[in-house]
Symmetry: C2
Subunit: 536 residues, 2 copies
């Protein structure tokens, strides 16, 4: 058999050749623009030729600080297609972390959105390796004292639209890079290869997984600086799907309108996005009947949210699980065929779990006594292995605890039911250890968020002299439900949990602190709780 | 990223772990039997342990002469999973070719169905490397003078159901082998690897391709000795689909009953199978509403057949193309989303073509003037490249003409339309070269087979002093249509083709000679036509 190197360039070439008329719909600050794959293909070749001309070599890192739009898509293909490495940088990180990341990755060139450029102005004198900044804008270049700043459109206009991508790249060469935040210290870099990216894209195209097709209109709401927007731009381009890029600083209204106007069939994002989208759907009328999958990952979707999408709006919800180190797709929550006949409530409960391992990966769930029983009760850490799972962090010693004997230790604690479906119950570090037993903060949070008066909730441990740790619930109430009391909350939880699982206290807050990607930031929340008790 | 070797053993392990309750339905001479993947998994491990015990080493070839049933499925996994090579032998070949194939492959062991065993008795004294024969039967062993004959069930009963598959196999190691008939001389061997098999399986699971899922009930009618039953047993096991194996010497009635009783959703085979199935559906009543795809490949499906399935029986038809050297999936004929609005007749015409290249492969269509125009007219040879395309024949010099500069030269002549959809118009060697122009025998055949009185038809060239070659049609009439004349046929063709395309003659026959896999055997047909003119 031929080797047939799995290369990212073959994906965009397929779109150019077989789907030249299909479109990328891109919302920028200048409004909604449309590009065919024929146009995107030419612009990407121009960009690639300019990167080569600039002196970007095989393996060199090129950074992006950008929202989801067509130019970012072009970078997704041009950079790896010449053998260099697409380094997507999270624009929501602190300036300190951004400086660290760019210097650590040794980015040669930075592509930056016009509205993110002030960040570059603030940090550029600390960046040691960057030779130029290319500003992505439909307008004039910003007035700046930073040297070597170019306009993307002007820069690529002199490029070669017939540039040929090199085909002597090995599939195991680096293609992309993304940093993941660490509990303490600097973010850690994960490097993707051509092989991992293509195989991961295949896993998204499986009919049993997301089943993306040419006929889909795919809108990644998850940022393109967050684990390659979960690989959506790659698979969508490869299959010639329509892509809808929501652009900078979108609102729930923008998302709802794009879904309606562009007949979006698949969209993907974190639960907090869907929470605010639901609010928008409740307040205003939209046609969402084109949607065949609202893909949700990043953190667990509350059961109530899934039900609201499906029962109230008739929008199919698809729960998935993964992380930066897993490219990210690891599990998808779909019913097995013989589970379709279960009572509705049971079906919802299964689908609210993280789901079944995607074909191509291997898993192990290891508790204190070795591999756990598949009984839906026994808890253990999820270990993963396979061709789109990281095996190290980029130039970082901290990989030693995470990558052990060929397995990724996810740091996520889960149960596995009789059918092999995993349910994440906590992060190893967020588990509440009470009297020698484990309490899942996530289980309590999901129950809390199903309360009609609760907007969001998070549970953390407080130190306890007798039990070692005890749970405390932090709750944000919905507007109009301000009269809900601590006792209401505890009475609501009581029938659902063992007595010793019930939180010792309920603290009402204005907001739960979140990470830059919308996950609950437990570290900050613990500080807030500590402060609360110190000031009470 | 981890390497994550793509290994066949991981596919059966996934079925055992996540789909232990799902079933393989196997029709043997003893009747229809049912096995769960849990049982198949244990039996496969037992088999693998026995192979190791027998002394089968990494890279050794193990032959099978068998129909589609659960034991053959076990061999599909056990043999490659220990690092040896599954060599499926076409039971319909001549004894001379079978002797050649087994000796050329140096098979160490042969697994043979009880009803095929007489073939072994006839040839065993010519087989140089085979150390034993394992007969697959539910009955007593046949009475035989052949040495070293064992019963499959007895043989595996002493195996180890907890045998662990080795994981130090490289994905590029050989896993399977299948011989393809040559125009002249002995069959040529194609060797599949773990990598090619797994990637090919992924291509089958793409929603835009066959889109096989766990919820499917998959019946490969295409024999397991023919290009791995088009890869169906691998992907079906991997995804935990129900599998329906039609077993030995099935009739159209058997197939129709299995479709009805086992609620088959996807079935796959060559056009001749679907022709006789249609006849059965016309004569007797069956419920076929479970079918979501009748996959057809091997040779072109006539447009009339596609229409009958879809319009008369409401059964979706899926035309695909490939060959032994391509694992086999290369193209699938699905409409692009924006073609769905075309008039019905145009949609059928597109879908009767061979279709669009599957993601993961590359193609080139080369005529006498280089790459052909994508205009649906220009003809050229189809060249293919990619990770599940062969790059050589097994220990054979004849690969030199077929594998040139990194491309497989398929020997198939096709056109490409504006959308990139290919239509096979002929084999390079079957094209009729008339007066310096090319006439497609396949186009004429498809038109002939759409005639209501024609059961099957084939067109070959006869030498012509003036025009070099001229077409002659060979036609088998349907029962009750014996009065159809040569002029009726020519009058029917006249409005559809240029005058110089019309056959010079129409010869009525009882039967068109076919290959062992049901394709028209043009070589034999040319001899028959020659004979016809010599005796007239």
């Amino acid at each position: 058999m031929m080797k047939g190197n799995l290369l990212i360039s073959s994906m965009i070439e397929r779109a150019e050749r077989f789907y030249p008329k299909k479109e990328v719909v891109s919302r920028t600050s200048a409004g909604v623009q449309r590009f065919t794959y024929k146009e995107i293909g030419k612009r990407t070749r121009k960009l690639a030729s300019k990167l080569k001309e600039f002196g970007i070599e095989r393996g060199d890192r090129v950074g992006t600080l950008a929202w989801n739009h067509h130019r970012h898509l072009e970078l997704y293909f041009a950079i790896p297609s010449i053998g260099s490495v697409l380094h997507t940088i999270n624009i929501r990180l602190s300036p300190e972390h951004i400086i660290y990341i760019i210097n650590h990755a040794e980015d040669e060139l930075i592509f930056v959105d016009e509205d993110v450029f002030p960040l570059i102005e603030a940090v550029h004198d600390k960046l040691k390796t960057v030779k130029a900044y290319i500003v992505m804008t439909d307008n004039e270049l910003p007035d700046t004292s930073v040297d070597n700043v170019y306009s993307y459109e002007e820069w690529i206009s002199a490029g070669d639209e017939n540039f040929e991508y090199p085909k002597d790249i090995e599939e195991t060469e680096p293609a992309g890079m993304c940093f993941t935040s660490a509990t303490t210290g600097n973010p850690k870099g994960v490097v993707y290869t051509h092989r991992s990216t293509v195989l991961h894209s295949m896993s998204l195209a499986f009919a049993d997984s997301l089943g993306t097709t040419e006929s889909d209109s795919i809108m990644p709401v998850v940022p393109m600086f967050h684990v390659n927007a979960w690989g959506m731009p790659y698979v969508a381009t490869w299959l010639g799907s329509t892509q809808v890029m929501p652009g900078p600083r979108f609102t729930p209204k923008v998302l709802a309108e794009l879904i309606q106007d562009e007949k979006v069939t698949v969209t993907a994002g974190v639960p907090t996005i869907w929470l605010v989208l639901l609010k928008e759907l409740e307040e205003n009328e939209y046609n969402t009947e084109s949607l065949r999958a609202v893909v949700c990952g990043g953190s667990a979707a509350p059961l109530g949210m899934i039900k609201t999408f499906e029962k109230k709006y008739n929008v199919p919800f698809l729960h998935a699980y993964g992380m930066t180190e897993t490219s990210p797709l690891a599990t998808v929550s779909r019913l097995k065929s013989y589970q379709e006949d279960l009572p509705e409530e049971e079906r919802f409960e299964i689908r609210a779990k993280q789901g079944l391992l995607v074909p191509g990966l291997e898993m192990k769930v290891v508790g204190s006594q070795g591999e756990v029983a598949w009984d839906g009760q026994d808890m253990g850490e999820l270990l993963l292995r396979g061709p789109w799972i990281a095996d190290d962090y980029f130039k970082d010693d901290r990989g030693e605890e995470t990558f052990v004997e060929g397995w990724l230790h996810t740091g996520d604690v889960c149960t596995v039911d009789e059918e092999g479906v995993i349910k994440i119950v906590d992060r190893t570090k967020d588990l509440i250890k009470s009297g020698g037993e484990w309490i899942s903060s996530v289980d309590l949070e999901n129950a809390l968020m199903a309360h009609e008066g609760v907007f969001e909730a998070s549970v953390v441990a407080i130190p306890d002299p007798e039990w070692q740790e005890r749970p405390v619930a932090c709750v944000v109430l919905k507007e109009g439900h301000e009269t809900v009391s601590k006792d209401d909350i505890l009475d609501y939880l009581r029938p659902q949990f063992a007595k010793w699982w019930l939180p010792d206290d309920v603290i009402f807050m204005e907001e739960i602190p979140k990470t830059s990607v919308g996950k609950f930031l437990k570290r900050a929340l613990r500080d807030k709780v500590k402060e609360h008790y110190e000031t009470v």
